[in-house]
Symmetry: C2
Subunit: 101 residues, 2 copies
Amino acid sequence: MDYKSKKVIGMGVVTELTGLSERQVRYYEEKGLVFPERTKGGSRKYSFHDVERLVEVATKLEDGWRIQDIKERERRLSAKQRDDLIRGQLNSAFRTFPTKK
Amino acid sequence: MDYKSKKVIGMGVVTELTGLSERQVRYYEEKGLVFPERTKGGSRKYSFHDVERLVEVATKLEDGWRIQDIKERERRLSAKQRDDLIRGQLNSAFRTFPTKK
DNA sequence: TGCAATTTGTCAGATTATCTGACATAGTTT
DNA sequence: AAACTATGTCAGATAATCTGACAAATTGCA
């Protein structure tokens, strides 16, 4: 695993890096937007990727989005991506219609 | 700064990642082999680069090196690199002797 | 050979970091 | 108006980390 996705960052550093409060960070987890790992004792551990994710979420909230909207939109997007992927696979497998060039 | 050199990792994770004891990690710092940052409260924060460094140090110690030897050897090596760098700069600036090709 | 240095373990006591759960609140939806 | 959303804050508990000290095994060296 690469540095960006390894879960090694504690809550204190996360709040420093993101500018968010502990409350916010925990709330976003409660709502299913980030998924930290835990130490044996129960402390949260985040990755750099998680940190970027948190900033992205916070930005959208500042823009007036609500958490459920963010999740909903992403659910649709990834569904579309799955569709596009499958469509692409079908196209290259069966070539049901002409491709350009 | 990149993920590899950002100091965000606490002692607990460092001991997990390196397999070293807290005692060892602190001792290597005391001897000037790693240079963690600190939180406001005084807790150490390491980078992935530091983690790799610690493993490298531990490996050499297992091979029978002593800390002072490691530091001494590196002092010489970096001195040589400085010399090589300067020599290279002089060569390209003044071309005091013919180069091959 | 004997003494000093090196490296690591361990322990105590103190301090810092983080956790959960609860209540409050301002703003937004329904 | 009532319910919901997002966040602040506080208390009490637990986890994580720190420093400083003493011990001990091994190794270097005078």
